[in-house]
Amino acid sequence: MRLGPALGWFSRNYNYEVETQAPLQKHSVGSQQRTPIMYASLFEQKVVPVKHSTKFRDESVMKSKRISKFLWVGALGSVVVVSGLAEKVYPGKVAPSSPAQTTNSASTTGTSGYNVTSSTLAPPPASATAPSGLSATSGSSSSGSAAAAAPTAGS
């Protein structure tokens, strides 16, 4: 079921072209007019829970979850403590808590929040252990998880 309540709401209130199927390419040629929306679709994606591929993997994930629960509590505690300390020492200059935020050009107003002097590329945030869902094709790493899909990365 791809259509959800959001679609009904959307089509009633906005005069956009709506597709119920994932549309294929229909490029806008030129862009001379203030009509940026050439083709729009809105549909919901459902997460389908799936099982892990092997018993071994199930067990290892459960085990790692038990361990990581304690680690996370500890890590969270130390982050809170450290950030509280930093707030006292450097008021208003505490680093963002999410790794993703450290490199985003987060200033949405004003001139560039980009640090032009930064000559290194920021690494991606570590993928977290997720409770259920898709399984990795090999190994018993911590990245398997459930999901609705999926933007494409082709270019």
């Binding site: 040629v29 549909f43 994606q45 790794p99 993703a100 450290t102 490199t103 991606p124 398997g144 998880s145």
Partner: protein, 334 residues
């Protein structure tokens, strides 16, 4: 957990906004987010499009005399991001390659280039003035461009704006979202929650039903650079849109595509596009960045790493690339 997807075809590609259905009043927030998303894409087109003469960047190129010109915040930020890309890649991603691009025939929307390409097109080689000839003044928000130079922000603009839109929608509407502008992906950090699933298509298309490799990312950015789709013939010679600024011609690419994961879409794009522009040296430079990447080899590419056969080609994984996922049951919705 459910997701909602909004698609808009503009900027010569397909742009997507995906959000997770969560929190109260989600519909209202998401609809507002779609509006903001469209606005930002429209602004980008108005400011940075090289294919419309009334865009700010083309006016800056056409009217400049080498003197500082005050520009909008967005254009200044875009040029600044492009300069950062140039610095990091040692000049391989140069924002002054607009003239080179025009010389090779890429002077209009790509579908028109391809149409003219079929009728036969001439080309000429124009060396860029070089990113070091630009002067940016942050205080007066002005840019000095050498006379005659056309700026091309195509290497970084979409990725930069993807990051900015993602951060803005998170901030304004408290949405957990993923912004995909033609393959330049920026997404909210989801931490321990279900990661974002991304399909790396084997044919390089943006069609989510294509065969591909499915993997999850927790946040940050992802970008793919490829010359499969944007290539054309001029003067009987094949050209593509990644320019080697040292020659003014299309770079000699040793890879079919490079996909990189990073802390932001911009950084991922700098790494992937920069490595493509560097030719055979690109892979060494890319390894040096420490970023996870997938390199799809061309037939003639010789590399040291271990390659894995995949859908008729060979992939090399660099760094800590996430494991490929297999969906055991149920359907991928898009």
């Amino acid at each position: 957990m459910r997701q909602v997807l909004f698609r808009q075809d503009t900027l010569g590609t397909s742009c997507f906004l995906t959000s997770r259905v969560e929190g109260v009043d989600f519909e209202r927030r998401f609809i507002a987010a779609c509006e903001t998303f469209s606005e930002r894409l429209f602004e980008l087109d108005q400011v940075a499009s090289r294919f419309r003469q009334d865009s700010e960047v083309m006016r800056l190129s056409a009217e400049n005399t080498g003197e500082p010109v005050s520009v909008s915040e967005l254009l200044f930020d875009l040029v600044e991001a492009a300069m950062r890309a140039a610095t990091i890649t040692g000049g391989y991603l140069d924002p002054t390659v607009g003239n080179s691009m025009v010389g090779l025939g890429y002077s209009k929307d790509f579908e028109l280039v391809r149409r003219d390409s079929a009728d036969g097109m001439h080309f000429r080689v124009v060396l860029p003035s070089g990113y070091r000839t630009l002067v940016l003044d942050r205080v007066t928000r002005s840019i000095s461009v050498p006379p005659g130079t056309i700026l091309d922000l195509g290497a970084t603009a979409k990725a930069f704006v993807a990051d900015r839109i993602c951060a803005e929608l998170e901030h304004l509407y408290s949405l957990t979202c993923l912004v995909n502008l033609g393959g330049d992906i920026s997404c909210s950090y989801v931490g321990q929650e279900v990661p974002w699933m991304v399909n790396l298509t084997s044919d390089g298309s943006l069609d989510p039903t294509s065969d591909g490799m499915l993997f999850g990312i927790a946040g940050g950015g992802l970008a793919t650079s490829s010359v499969r789709s944007r290539n054309w013939l001029a003067g009987g010679t094949p050209h593509h849109h990644i320019i080697d600024p040292t020659s003014g011609e299309s770079a000699v690419v040793d890879f079919e595509s490079i996909t990189v994961l990073a802390g932001s879409a911009l950084d991922a794009n700098i790494a992937s596009c920069g490595a493509m522009a560097m030719g055979h040296r690109g892979i060494i430079w890319l390894r040096g960045t420490g970023l996870p990447a997938v390199v799809k080899r061309t037939n003639r590419t010789q590399m040291d790493g271990i390659a894995r056969p995949w859908n008729g080609s060979e992939l090399e994984f660099i760094g800590d690339w996430p494991e490929e996922l297999v969906q055991l049951s149920g359907g991928v919705a898009c």
